[in-house]
Amino acid sequence: MVSKTEEAEVNRLESQADNGGGGEWEYLSLVRKLKLRRPDKVLKHGLTILNDPKKRSSLGHDEWTLYEQVAIAAMDCHCLDVAQDCIKVLQKKFPESKRVGRLEAMLLEAKGSWAEAEKAYLSLLEDNPLDQVILKRRVALTKAQGDISGAIQRLSEYLEVFMADHEAWRELAEIYVSLQMYKQAAFCYEELILSQPMIPLYHLAYADVLYTLGGLENLQTAKKYYASTIDLTGGKNNRALFGVCLCTFAVAQLTKGRYKEDKESPELQSLAAAALEKDYKLRAPSKLSLLGSTLRSLKLSS
């Protein structure tokens, strides 16, 4: 996950490089550090450096890191020849390297040679059965072939060993959501919130899943987690603000006719609505009236 300042910086470096202002290496290093996926830009700017012998040699040892980064970006862009060329260079420099072996297996994956890629990964795992990158590539391999339940199984097995891998929990949750397996997705978000309780993204995602599951208890809990998201983001998360409004409305629908004491107080919804109105007025005034009618259709009506 990337902060707004980090994202702004990488975008700045990207347009600088795009417009011929140099700084390709700084851009590529930041992309690597933040683990961003921008394959077309990485490919373009990486090749600018690699194809220029002077620029290349000024990198020193970093040259090989760049070959690896460009190889992966090339595979992502389906420029398999470029990937192959980069890998050849690395094979020459580092024969017998496991890290290069991994790239070779990834290239097989990119070509769609599923069985060969699987074989390559398994053989790499023989010497290092706990290589997290390879274990996760096997999950990706399964998913790429369309075997989603297989991917779930492998990812779950992986998480039994590496239960602190947050990105893996997120991936599993997203797979579950795509299959509408919301209870299972909720479990993943619960794990994430337990281990990293101050990250608003997890609270928000959890609330979204609970809201989707529906039912009074889930809606009430969803509202709590939309509220905690608002808390953790200083009131700046519009998704959570909308979430609070939706939950209040949905709960009101379900509790119609019950005793007034059971009903929730409308304060939280009013505050959320006011915050939304303030933000839209400031930053999206053309949509303010649309917001108004949306909020009106969600207002508690007794």
């Binding site: 795509s178 979204d208 998704r239 649309l290």
Partner: protein, 205 residues
């Protein structure tokens, strides 16, 4: 009920949906189709005059979808248009299946409009566009038949999904090569930054 419906998709509506899918190649993407019913009883036409790209992440959670639909129905209702269908682009290139999320959203639209259209991006046709001229939209059309299940339309060769402007694919290819898909804004983008306009009103200017 009358004759079998034809579906005519306008250039801007069509291009927005494909560009959106291209902007988010590594995930699924979806959108709604806006338009109206026209033609005669014997020859009904569903005109898709506009589209709104919706999401490219966590497709399957309801809250953002509900907000989007309320706003979209409100905005387009004032223009006399309504939601006439849904567009989905699968995450994987080889996946040509209409998933359950698409069907569920389709069911919801079907409640108000039995001629509701589900459009699925056809990745192979899209890829082929750069190699050969293509007059038909690079999408597969599904409608709900009498058996109440979503069926692929046109596999018998009948073309019931047509591009209103015959040059739409040429314009699309132009936009693809100029990287226009970078400018597409969807509802996800709007929720993350409300200053971003999900109507894409400046896109084709």
């Amino acid at each position: 009920m009358g004759g079998v419906s034809r579906y005519e998709i306008g250039q801007n509506a069509y291009i927005k949906l494909v560009l959106h899918a291209l902007k988010h190649k590594t995930s699924a993407a979806n959108g709604v189709l806006l338009g109206r019913l026209s033609g005669s009883d014997a020859s009904p036409v569903v005109e898709v005059t506009d589209s709104v790209p919706l999401f490219h992440s966590q497709i399957g959670v309801l809250a953002p979808l509900e907000i989007a639909l309320i706003m979209i129905e409100e905005h387009y209702g004032a223009q006399g248009l309504s939601i006439v269908g849904y567009f989905h682009a699968n995450e994987r290139f080889d996946d040509a299946e209409l998933g359950n999320i698409a069907k569920n959203i389709g069911d919801h639209i079907y409640k108000n409009l039995p001629q509701a259209a589900l459009l699925l991006l056809d990745n192979k046709k899209l890829e082929a566009l750069s190699k050969q001229k293509e007059m038909a939209p690079v999408m597969q059309l599904f409608t709900k038949d009498a058996s109440k299940s979503w069926k692929l339309v046109g596999s018998d060769g009948s073309s019931r999904l047509l591009l209103k402007e015959p040059s739409a694919n040429i314009v699309l290819m132009d936009y693809i090569s100029s990287g226009k898909w970078m400018d597409i804004i969807d509802f996800d983008d709007h929720l993350d930054d409300i200053s971003k306009d999900w109507l894409n009103s400046e896109l084709f200017k």
